[in-house]
């Protein structure tokens, strides 16, 4: 037997495979294909204080080895989430991580407070890195001081573990990571999507209704891996790595770069069983290489031999 358990910010996960926010809905949609109880944790679609209708379509376009999305945080709002979605999620033996976003620091604070009053939430993932909304999002994630301020506001309003999700659309991601660490973050998720765009030659217009979108999928994996590596070297917080993880090999690279857990996003669209396939692949790798504990591999690539 290999030991796949890991601990992140006081949260014990039975394995390191998590769903990436926005790519797994509220998980009902994938229940026919995936035994949800096998997942390390479920991170739900970003929730805001009030319902949001999202951006005008088209919202997605395929690019080489990736996709650009500009959903614009469409979600039913925290009250609906609490009343109609959380009870469904609570029937599974899986920690639920709630991804949350706001337009102002105050909104993050109020939302954190509201979510903390609910049962069956394991942690908050603070999205300060959504490239697809006019206000909030990236504006907080690209400025270390603002990122720290949001982190503090959330921390002051919750007793749940706080995971801050960082954007790669910055010059030095380590600087933002340090700022949110000092502000009290318990863990880091990286990375969110990379800002990009595509143009429709027939219409001679940007493809996406929002003009810009966030790039995800295999195309961004090297960038994400580099971000995990750099942050691991400079900040001691546990890291959830994500960005183009499609196979167990990809996941293991992130773990060796310093991620304690991994999140699977776009891969779910190509293979709805991707999370389970990756989990089984990691387990096989450990067994074949006679590694007893997954935690022994975390950051392994940093050790100089």
């Amino acid at each position: 037997m290999v030991d796949l358990t890991i601990e992140i910010a006081g949260l014990r996960l039975k394995n390191p495979v998590i769903t990436a926010s926005g790519t797994f809905g509220f998980s009902q949609e994938y229940a026919p294909y995936v035994d949800l109880n096998r997942l390390g944790a479920i991170t739900v679609k970003g929730i805001t204080l009030l319902p949001r209708s999202g951006n005008p379509p088209p919202r997605l376009v395929e690019t080489p080895a990736g996709i650009l999305n500009a959903i614009g945080l469409q979600n039913p709002g925290v009250d609906y989430f609490a009343a109609s979605i959380l009870p469904y999620l609570s029937q599974f033996e899986v920690p639920v991580i709630v991804n949350m976003a706001g337009e102002t620091v105050e909104e993050y604070a109020v939302l954190a407070n509201k979510l903390s009053e609910l049962n069956n939430i394991a942690a908050l993932e603070v999205n300060i890195s959504c490239p697809n909304v006019e206000k909030g999002g990236l504006q907080f994630g690209s400025d270390p001081a603002a990122a720290a301020e949001v982190t503090r506001a959330v921390k002051n309003n919750t007793s749940l573990p706080v995971i801050v999700k960082l954007s790669p659309n910055v010059t030095r991601i380590e600087t933002v990571a340090q700022a949110v660490a000092q502000a009290g973050a318990d863990a880091l998720s990286l990375i969110n999507t990379i800002l990009g765009m595509a143009i429709d030659l027939k219409k001679r217009r940007p493809v996406l209704g929002n003009i810009f979108g966030g790039l995800s999928g295999p195309a961004i994996k090297p960038v994400a891996l580099r971000a995990v590596w750099q942050v691991f070297e400079e900040v001691s917080l546990p890291i959830i790595g994500m960005g183009g993880i499609f196979t167990a090999q990809d996941a293991l690279e992130f773990i060796m770069a310093g991620a304690k857990a991994v999140a699977v996003g776009t891969a779910n669209f190509i293979n709805p069983r991707a999370t389970i396939d990756i989990l089984e692949g990691i387990e096989n790798y450990l067994r074949e290489n006679k590694i007893k504990r997954l935690s022994d591999l975390v950051g392994a690539a940093h050790c100089k031999q």
């Binding site: 809905g25 999202g54 379509p57 376009v61 080489p64 996709i67 190509i270 709805p272 069983r273």
Partner: protein, 290 residues
């Protein structure tokens, strides 16, 4: 009952230049699939193109439990798919989405002056329900499966209206004619090479004006569907249309594939997922973009 599986191709034929009919052993029971539902399949195991592609179920064979899709080669994914041969394998997710509503096994009732309604059999005197099935180009795909199901229902007449660019692109016409004697076929071509010279919506307009249609099902280019919607509103006839949008997950999780639909309050709108609440929508629900 939806599932994710690797399947074997049992047959693939180019039935018209650039149009392919591809059959595979169905991983789900075809008896439970609804006309209008789609499958999300990977054309090849590549990272580029990355996403699966959605295709309507075009035909089912209950005896062999096989599904066929009918597709047009328009880009790289469909070009890769066209190279596949018998026994080649690919992954299929499905059946997905909400299909067409089959008419109740009842009769048509029309109160004097009021809108037409389909009511249960018990309450009203019998008469025939007159259905029009309107297809533009490869839009015939989900409608053929619909016809396979409609032909077994009692008390219907079915007018099938097909519009194509030219006779070379006419798909499944022989198969449609041999489905049932209840089915009457009307053709329209853009170049006049066969049938009516003009748009298929003009045939529909004539039938509606003559008060010969009670219910319409349509699939085709969005510009055609928009005209169908206008005609149905004008003549106060109910109908359903099948829409296409770029998809991400195909299962309702990512909110990529939305179309604009009427909201609960007047003049409000809401986004509906084509992969989940659709791809088939009641025609009066859609807000058509300019």
């Amino acid at each position: 009952m939806t599932s994710y599986n690797t399947v074997n191709i049992t047959r693939q034929d180019e039935i018209a230049p650039g149009f392919y009919l591809l059959s595979f052993k169905s991983p789900f029971s075809v008896h439970q699939a609804q006309p209008g539902q789609f499958v999300y399949l990977r054309c090849d195991n590549t990272y580029d193109p990355l996403l699966p592609r959605p295709f309507s179920i075009a035909m089912v064979d209950g005896g062999k439990n096989e599904v066929a899709i009918l597709y047009q080669v328009v880009g790289r994914g469909t070009a890769l798919l066209a190279q596949k041969k018998e026994l080649d394998r690919f992954t299929v997710l499905g059946p997905l989405g909400r299909g067409f509503t089959l008419p109740p096994s009842g009769r048509l009732f029309r109160p004097k002056g009021g809108p037409k309604r389909v009511e249960p059999l018990e309450s009203f005197p019998p008469s025939f329900l007159r259905i029009a099935v309107v297809a533009g180009g490869v839009g015939i795909a989900p409608l053929f499966f619909l016809l396979q199901r409609l032909k077994d229902l009692p008390d219907l007449t079915i007018e099938v209206l097909i519009g194509v660019r030219s006779i070379k692109q006419l798909l499944l016409a022989t198969e449609i004619k041999s489905l049932s004697p209840q089915v009457k076929l009307h053709l329209a071509t853009d170049d006049g090479s066969c049938g009516f010279h003009g748009s298929v919506t003009e045939i529909l307009a004539t039938l509606l004006k003559a008060d010969k249609i009670d219910l319409v099902y349509a699939c085709g280019p969005e510009a055609m569907l928009k005209i169908v919607a206008e005609l149905l509103t004008k003549h106060n006839v109910p109908g359903e249309v099948s829409l296409e949008r770029q998809m991400g997950c195909g299962v309702g999780a990512c909110l990529s594939c939305v179309c604009k639909a009427k909201g609960e309050r007047e003049n409000s709108f809401r986004y509906r997922r084509v992969c989940k609440e659709g791809p088939v929508f009641p025609v009066q629900e859609i807000i058509w973009e300019e």
